[in-house]
């Protein structure tokens, strides 16, 4: 049985991929998926760390994250759909009406 290191490495890679996607893509849907990727990489570190320490705190935390993420998905997708219906595009760069 290996230690948490490989899981942590995988989580790190997933997090970097997510962060990179968030910063480089301009499609709101893709950015959204990137955020999900980052959330799940963090979930992975929770589970791995919990396993290494030997309690369930990490796994319980994951459930909370999943619940919050589910709610976030609902609202986020709704916003994206609404924006898409209105302007036929999901590019975040065009959503700059509120700029100062």
């Amino acid at each position: 049985m290996a230690g948490p290191t490989p899981y942590m490495a995988l989580a790190f890679i997933l997090f970097v991929i997510g962060a990179t996607g968030l910063l480089t893509r301009r499609n709101a849907l893709i950015m959204f998926m990137s955020v999900e990727l980052m959330l799940n990489s963090v979930n992975l570190t929770f589970v791995a760390a919990g396993r290494a320490i030997g309690n369930f705190t990490g796994q319980v935390s994951v459930f909370f994250v999943l619940v919050v993420a589910a709610a976030e998905v609902v609202i986020g997708l709704a916003i994206i759909v609404a924006v898409f219906q209105k302007r036929n595009s999901a590019s975040v760069d065009e959503l700059s009406e509120m700029k100062g």
């Binding site: 962060a19 968030l22 910063l23 480089t24 301009r26 950015m31 975040v92 760069d93 959503l95 700059s96 009406e97 509120m98 700029k99 100062g100």
Partner: protein
Amino acid sequence: MDFLADYLWLIIALPLAGAVALHFGGKFLPEPLPGLVAVGAIGTAFLIAAAAFVPLATGEAEAHILMLWDWMPGIGAAFEIRWDQLSALMTLIVTGVGTLIHIYSIGYMHGDPRFSRFFTYLNLFAASMLTLVLANNYAMMFVGWELVGLCSYLLISFWFTRPSAAAAGKKAFVVNRIGDFAFIVGLMLVFTQFGSLSMSETVLSHPGEVLSPGTATAIAILFLIGAAGKSAQIPLYVWLPDAMEGPTPVSALIHAATMVTAGVYLIARNAAIFELSPVALPIVATVGAATALVAALIAVGQNDIKKVLAYSTVSQLGYMFLAVGSAGYVAGVFHLMTHAFFKALLFLGAGSVIHGMHEEQDMRKMGGLRTAMPITHATMLVATLAIAGIFPFAGFFSKDEILASVFANGGYYLVLWGVGLFTAFLTAYYMTRQYIMVFWGKPRWVEGLKPHESSLWMTVPLMVLAVLSAGAGFLNTPQLLTLEHYLEPVFEALHPAHLESELPRILGMDGLAFGLAIVSLGVAVIGIATAGFVYARSSERFRQWFANATRRPMNASENAFWVDKFYGKTIVLPGKKLAQGLASFDSFFVDGAVNGVAGVVQRIGMSLKPLQSGFVRSYGATFVAGVIGLVIFFLTRGGL
């Protein structure tokens, strides 16, 4: 009696109820009805007052106080009615003359689009004035005092679409404010000295035990300023001539018969305080004499029929002040009453003339009206003789008694007596001048004008007032001091030397009283004869010469000695400058501080604005950079 005494509050409540009813319901009533409602309200109040007056007059009942309800017990302020000889007399004058003028107004205001509103105000005024005179309490009196000022303002500017009427109402209000301020300061002084505002605990119960002569002088002077504002005395008389912008019944009711006499009433009511001061009464008398003279001089040169009467009113009010300032309280109140009759008659007659001449007020465009308006002419003649002081009309007795009581004081008062006598001459002169200019000579009417006699609504009150103007003098002849004895309970504590011995002694000195009466009558006859000669009996050449010779003084008189201009330059203009200065302080410093804070916040916001670039990914990059920064921070610190 006891039954009536408990219902005295109706005297105030009825006109008030009339005003409230007309305010809400008046506009739904067709034309004469609102007037009839108002007449009914004040007429019933008059009947109640008259019924309650009889036992007082016969001596069956004594003065008493009717407590209505407590208001501010801590300062002795309550709504309580004082029904004594003085307030009963004032109530009869207010409701009696008021009723006649209400009736007259039905004819005068015929066809006015705000007919019912006019009667609302008239009834409200009556209720306010009755609150003033019936108060047994300075606080309640002050309420009435302010309310009559309000009604005066509302009624002067009743035709508010005319800018001059709106301005006149404002002027009356502001000038009265000056007097009211002094009055309320005087009330505070009364309260600090006595610890109460109830008259039965202050002025009417040995004020000499509480007040030092100095404090009494201060209170008296403050009350005098208040009275001078309300009663149009020097230096606050300027509002009354302008108040003629109001409808003529208003001039008759408020600015001749009732409200403007409130100052005389105030001084008579507080005579006990004035007597405590060594200087207050001479000051009152001097103010009165000066006002009487100056206003009479101005009246001589006026060409507006109502302006003559306005200055005449100021002059006659000065006479009343002269009377109370000479401790001739009964004479003052007596003249107040006779003046209410004949001056109301003069104003109503003038209103009838104006009405018949289709709103013409310039006497130079009248003349020869005696045939066109016989009733108005006859009643105006009675009133003119009454105010001029011709035996046996009312003005003769009251004016003679004033002059006698001034004379009785001797010393300095002899000067004032001379001034009063000269004013009597001027009064006879300008009233005859007016009478001739309006009713005699050739018609100088605007072409195509057909003067007509007024309706019965207007002429009947004229006739009633003419009877009163002719006969009221016999209430107090030197032989039959009816009014003197009637008012004795009110003034008996004062100046006992005067009431008990001095005046009757001097008047009783065979010859002297008679001589004084002959002198004042002679002066009046000379005045009438002079005016009659100048304006009616002289040749055209003499009239030309007279007009040229008196051009400069007449011009000064016509322009009221430019007092308004002088006040405008010395008080109004600096006041406006000060107000403008304060306004610029307000807009520069106060507004500047507020706007400055807002400007600073705005500038900070502007400089931070570029942070909101509108690019979601740049926010994300900032976010990530922040997280990395935090991680590095914690790692270098060696853990959390």
